[in-house]
């Protein structure tokens, strides 16, 4: 039994409101997460609009497993292991492209976009009647798309919509902001490399507590220049505000600012960005003020952080995907989105807006994630990370959909996802023990 497979007693790493530093710094636990956690649940891999035509593909990861996400000639979606079944070589070495045939550069084994082996050179050398199906590519056990979001699982798991639980309805609301204008993920991405554990990043995904502090420089500059804009509504007693966080089930969570951000007009709350005035003017002239504002509001500040455990985060108009690299390195990939069938001015505004928070806000968060990693790695005597805000449940309320919500600065998010983490890691450890 390799070290990766050895069941660990994770219970010792958790106390009420506390999680142990080993979960952030231990390479052995990281390998188990990549193999077991990412290997036993739905993992987001790509958006359908990235691969619209037969033969289109992108390369992604499920944990550390390199995969190719393809569109086949029947329009079907396939998530294939980017590993030649012959000797293990990486088959596809570009990030994206279109190919009717995937050919291994080493011995020229060839595969179709469904992963079926179509040719091996000098085939009789494998036996006179060898069946090529023996040499098909490895593939995810299950692939499903939820309204364009493609997820894959490495072993049989319950249906995707069941897994998404309360997250499905929030994703619907995000997608339905601009009826008749589906999102398209074809505008590039910003992959941030951060020297911290992937969960130090994930911890922040519904953290309403850090906003006034980590983002003080951003909030201060925009307040000085433009007054009550953006997230200025965090000022004061934010826990008494209409903002909240919510446990959506299965480790998924929501941070919801819509009550404040969308109270009047998201676009009018948004501080200026390059081209704001001239493009607004041109849209008003072309569409009339009302329709222009509808489209602008629909492309400004979604007001939610929707986190689908373990690797998909919807933030603003972007699709953020976590790609763990090692115990202390993570890539945060921000995919930009445009809308189909809207004036080009709207999509130009979306681009400049989607550059705004990453360069004015995310950079400071990233520096803080990295600083956390340093502290966790370098002080073994201090073993615990605190996730205890509002753990007493005094401000917890049950929403009409049955899910719990808590004040905006609660640590409900880390408590919810760690529970999902333990359920996945512990059940896998138990089943392995039984099998042994």
């Amino acid at each position: 039994m390799s070290q990766h497979d050895r069941a660990r007693d994770y219970a010792a790493l958790f106390r009420p409101g506390l999680v142990h530093r080993d979960l952030y710094v231990d390479e052995g636990i990281f390998r188990q997460e990549m193999d077991i956690l990412f290997g036993s649940t739905w993992v987001y891999v790509a958006h359908e609009s990235e691969i619209p035509a037969p033969g289109d593909y992108v390369t992604r990861r499920i944990g550390r497993r390199p995969v190719i996400v393809t569109r086949d000639s029947d329009g079907g979606l396939n998530v294939l292991m980017n590993r030649c079944p012959h000797r293990g070589a990486t088959l596809c070495r570009d990030d994206r492209g279109n190919a009717a045939t995937i050919t291994c550069p080493y011995h020229a084994w060839a595969f179709d976009p469904k992963g079926g082996c179509t040719a091996v050179p000098a085939r009789p050398g494998f036996g006179a009647d060898v069946d090529l199906a023996r040499f098909d590519m490895g593939r995810a056990a299950q692939v499903e798309s939820y309204r364009g979001f493609i997820f894959a699982a490495m072993k049989p798991v319950p249906p995707l919509v069941e897994h998404l639980a309360g997250a499905a309805g929030v994703l619907d609301a995000w997608l339905d902001r601009n009826p008749g204008h589906p999102i398209r993920v074809q505008s590039g991405s910003m992959p941030f490399e951060v020297r911290s554990n992937w969960k130090a990043v994930y911890d922040n995904a519904a953290d309403g507590y850090h906003v006034l502090f980590s983002h003080e420089s951003m909030l201060r500059v925009f307040a000085q220049r433009y007054g009550d804009v953006d997230m200025a509504y965090y000022n004061g007693d934010f826990d008494a505000s209409a903002l909240f966080v919510k446990d959506l089930g299965n480790g998924h969570t929501l941070l919801d600012q819509r009550a404040e951000m969308h109270a009047l007009s998201a676009w009018k709350r948004q501080h200026v960005l390059p081209g704001r005035e001239i493009l607004w003017e041109q849209l008003n002239a072309a569409l009339g003020e009302e329709q222009a504002l509808d489209l602008l509001d629909g492309s400004t500040g979604s007001g939610i952080n929707l986190n689908i455990f373990p690797n998909l985060l919807i933030i603003g108009n972007q699709i953020q995907v976590l790609e763990p690299v090692s115990a202390n390195t993570c890539v945060i990939n921000w995919y930009a989105t445009t809308l189909d069938g809207v004036p080009d001015e709207i999509n130009a505004i979306r681009m400049r807006m989607q550059e705004d928070f990453p360069s004015f806000g995310e950079v400071d968060d990233a520096a803080n994630f990295e600083a956390c990693q340093v502290g966790l790695e370098e002080v073994p005597e201090m073993e615990w990370v605190n996730i205890a805000r509002h753990i007493d449940g005094a401000r917890r309320t049950r929403d009409s959909d049955g899910h719990w919500r808590e004040p905006i600065s609660s640590d409900l998010h880390p408590r919810a996802y760690w529970a999902a983490w333990r359920a996945l890691m512990d059940s896998s450890a138990e089943s392995k023990e039984k099998a042994a």
Binding site: D95, Q186, S187, G188, S189, M190, P191, F192, E193, V194, R195, S214, E216, S217, M218, R220, V221, F222, Q224, R225, V272, L273, P274, G275, I278, L279, Q282, V331, N333, W334, A336, T338, D344, E345, N347, A348, M351, R352, Q354, E355, P358, S359, F360, V363, D364, A366, A367, N368, E370, A371, V374
Partner: protein, 194 residues
């Protein structure tokens, strides 16, 4: 070569003009020697680039802003193929106003990605001057930036595309387009000035 007019700053026509200019840079062949700038202008443009790099390395960001025109842009591309910025994300694509906000943010002392500021040393080389009108010169150069932040040493490399314009007998920067050679790959902290 398309000239970059001031009108329609950051509207779709502006993006189209910029895209055409960047495509021209990506497909550049031999520069016609008969069209090269006057030696005095060429010298002034080179000195402007070195001054620009020096101000960054000396953390003199307000003086650095003073080297740019009122219709300037600071642009860190996130792709390596010259895609249209009207429908492509960049690492940063800032008009003059957002350039000033960026500097203001760093100078608050609360910008934790720049606390303390990234130390840099910029080297510009392979400088090529491309004439683009009586008062406009484009400059391509390669760059290497050594960095130090939070105890980590780093190296960024690529090429810059500058648009320079003569205003009141001084050469000023209209556009600095930073093209990291790995712009489409994971990047560490880019919150310093490249």
């Amino acid at each position: 070569m398309t000239a970059l007019a001031q009108a329609g700053y950051f509207d779709l026509a502006y993006y189209s003009r910029l895209t055409a200019i960047v495509r021209g840079w990506l497909e550049l062949e031999e520069i016609d020697p008969s069209l090269l700038p006057e030696p005095d202008d060429a010298d002034a443009c080179r000195r402007l680039l070195f001054q620009e790099a020096r101000y960054i390395d000396q953390h003199r960001l307000e003086e650095w802003l003073g080297l740019f025109t009122e219709d300037a842009a600071y642009w860190i591309a996130a792709d390596v193929t010259g895609r249209d910025p009207a429908r492509t994300i960049s690492w940063e694509f800032n008009d003059r106003r957002r350039m000033e906000e960026r500097v203001d943010r760093i100078l608050t002392g609360k910008a934790y990605s720049q606390l303390p500021p990234t130390r840099t040393v910029h080297s510009y080389s392979n400088i090529e001057l491309i004439p683009a009108g009586p008062d406009e010169i484009h400059v391509l150069c390669t760059f290497e930036i050594r960095t130090l932040f939070a105890g980590e040493y780093g190296l960024k490399a690529g090429w810059n595309g500058f648009i320079l314009r003569r205003e009141d007998d001084r050469w000023r920067i209209v556009l600095k387009r930073i093209n990291l050679f790995d712009a489409d790959k994971p990047q560490t902290n880019l919150s310093f000035t490249l």
